[in-house]
């Protein structure tokens, strides 16, 4: 700007009146830029439309982060603005915002001492495409460094009551979060780090806030910003912020923009919620869930203990019934066994008597008259034999006696003198009957009577002779 002012100091010969020159510049500019042109640059110094409905900002081109090097004033007058805004309705991700590179069409004009562009249209595709490309680059770089899931890997405490809140203090998003947390009734403690969430200072401010949170180490950090266009939220696509989030020692929950936005910060955060309220609601829900879990457990403990008591009671009742039943069963069993024994006793006593009686009758049958008769018949037979024996013996004895008698008879017969007479021997006697044995027994003249086997003869001795022994003369 300073150079531009100097350049107007050189002409000296002809000196324009201001109006003349101004008009001349106006004509020159008009000639140089007879039609509207497209120009691209970063929006800077965008202010909300004033009462007249006109919108002013400047476009600049940066060579470094230290600041713009070229700027161009842009005016969007009310009618154009309304038209542009109407056209942009189909591009909800797009909104004019500081720091956003845009491609706009307008008429170059010189007015009020400045060259400015009266904007008539904007090319949202240009901006969004660049943003998308930049965002992709960052995401690839984070992925390459393994940072995308780093924060998400941190455990979110069961009861994240100590909350680090990084946002623009007093913003609607901030109030939404605090309101949601307060409404929960849970005892949240919020450490609020104010940060710019938009514009060129936003990134540095957010990085400082995150650094402070990293030192504080709350249970969780909420990084929230109210709704806006993608272009409003381009800060949250930045690589430095993403890396800072990835490096946070506590889980970072993001609630950036409105529902359809997904920034790089969302991608790298532990959890991304659609809105700040949703982010706070997530925490509230987590805490309340933990409380519900405890309450549920407690309710179950209460129910279960009541049930346990009831269960013990009914178990005990069943035991009592079992005691009664089993005792009765045992008695029934004992009674059954006893009656069985009684039955055995009856049966056995009767069968024992019967068996004994049968045994006795068996013994009685051994007293067999037939057999005894047989034995007696045998004895009778022995008697018959004895009779026969005696008969035989008697016969034999008689025969023997007879035989002996025959023998004696024979001997008697042998001695009978009649037998000698029969053989021829004879007997001589004297007349007086004396037996004459020798010659000397008689004298001549004696009368002799001689007996023969048959008959006898009388004779007289005439002579005697002396004895001459002769054999066989003896008898």
């Amino acid at each position: 700007m300073a150079a531009a002012e100097q350049s107007t100091l050189f002409p000296t010969e002809h000196t324009f009146g201001v109006g003349e020159l101004t008009a001349s510049i106006q004509r020159a500019v008009a000639r140089a830029f007879p039609a509207e042109v497209w120009v691209r640059g970063e929006i800077n110094g965008l202010r909300a439309a004033g009462a007249n409905g006109h919108l002013y900002f400047s476009l600049c081109e940066r060579n470094s982060r230290r600041g713009p090097t070229s700027t161009l004033n842009v005016a969007l007058f009310r009618q154009d603005r309304q038209r542009v805004e109407h056209e942009l309705r189909q591009w909800p991700d797009f909104r004019l915002a500081d720091g956003l590179e845009v491609r706009i069409r307008g008429r170059v004009q010189y007015a009020y001492g400045r060259v400015s562009v009266v904007m008539s249209a904007v090319d949202p595709v240009h901006t969004l495409g660049r943003l998308a490309a930049a965002r992709d680059r960052v995401l690839r770089s984070l992925a390459a460094d393994g940072l995308l899931g780093a924060n998400g890997a941190l455990p979110l405490p069961l009861v994240p009551l100590h909350v680090g809140l990084v946002t623009s203090a007093g913003s609607a998003a901030c109030e939404d979060v605090l309101g949601e947390l307060a409404a929960s009734g849970a005892g949240f403690r919020v450490a609020l780090a104010d940060a710019r969430v938009q514009g060129t200072e936003a990134e540095a401010s957010l990085l400082r806030a995150l650094a402070a949170m990293a030192r504080l180490r709350p249970d969780v950090v909420l990084l929230v910003r109210g709704g806006g266009s993608r272009t409003d939220l381009s800060t949250f696509d930045g690589g430095r912020l993403a890396r800072a989030i990835a490096a946070m020692p506590v889980p970072v929950l993001t609630g950036i923009g409105h529902e359809i936005d997904t920034s790089v910060a969302d991608e790298v955060a532990h959890t991304s919620c659609k809105t700040p309220t949703a982010c706070a609601a997530e925490l509230v829900e987590r805490v309340l869930a933990a409380l519900r879990r405890a309450e549920t457990a407690w309710a179950s403990v209460a129910d279960r203990s009541a049930a346990a008591v009831a269960g013990a009671d009914s178990h005990l009742r069943r035991r009592a019934d079992l005691v009664a039943g089993r005792a009765s069963g045992a008695l029934g069993g004992a009674s059954g066994r006893l009656e069985g024994q009684a039955g055995r006793l009856s049966a056995r006593a009767r069968s024992g008597v019967t068996a004994t009686a049968a045994h006795l009758e068996g013994a009685g049958r051994r007293l067999d008259p037939g057999r005894l008769h047989g034995r007696l018949t045998e004895a009778e037979r022995t008697l018959v034999v004895a009779g026969a024996r005696s008969q035989r013996a008697a016969a034999r004895a008689a025969a023997a006696a007879e035989a002996a008698l025959e023998l004696a008879g024979a001997r008697v017969a042998a001695a009978d003198p009649a037998r000698a007479l029969a053989r021829g021997w004879s007997l001589t006697r004297t007349a007086d009957g004396r037996l004459v044995r020798r010659a000397g027994d008689v004298a001549p003249g004696d009368t002799l009577v001689t007996t023969f086997g048959e008959g006898a003869a009388r004779s007289t001795v005439t002579a005697t002779e002396p004895a001459h022994p002769t054999p066989g003369a003896r008898p």
Binding site: L372, L376, A386, R389, A397, A398
Partner: protein
């Protein structure tokens, strides 16, 4: 049978013994004729005695056994003896 008195006083066993002795005598040939008939007669008497005894015993046994087989509780024919 003819001289019941001495026979009755004899036991069957004694009778058999005497009978055996007589048989032994008879079979021994020492017996003279004078006693032969008498011995044989004695043997016959003993045999007859024994037969009688057997017959008596047979009757007695039959009676006893019959009594035993009679229905119990109803005295047999000899229960009163």
């Amino acid at each position: 049978m003819t001289t019941p008195d001495p026979a009755d006083s004899l036991t069957y066993a004694g009778a058999i013994e005497e009978l055996e002795a007589i048989l032994a005598e008879l079979e021994d040939d020492r017996l003279d004729v004078d006693h032969l008939a008498e011995r044989v007669g004695r043997a016959a008497e003993l045999i007859r005695l024994c037969r009688q005894r057997i017959a008596d015993t047979r009757l007695e046994v039959e009676r006893i056994v019959a009594d035993l087989d009679a229905p119990p509780g109803e005295p047999g024919p000899s229960a009163g003896s």
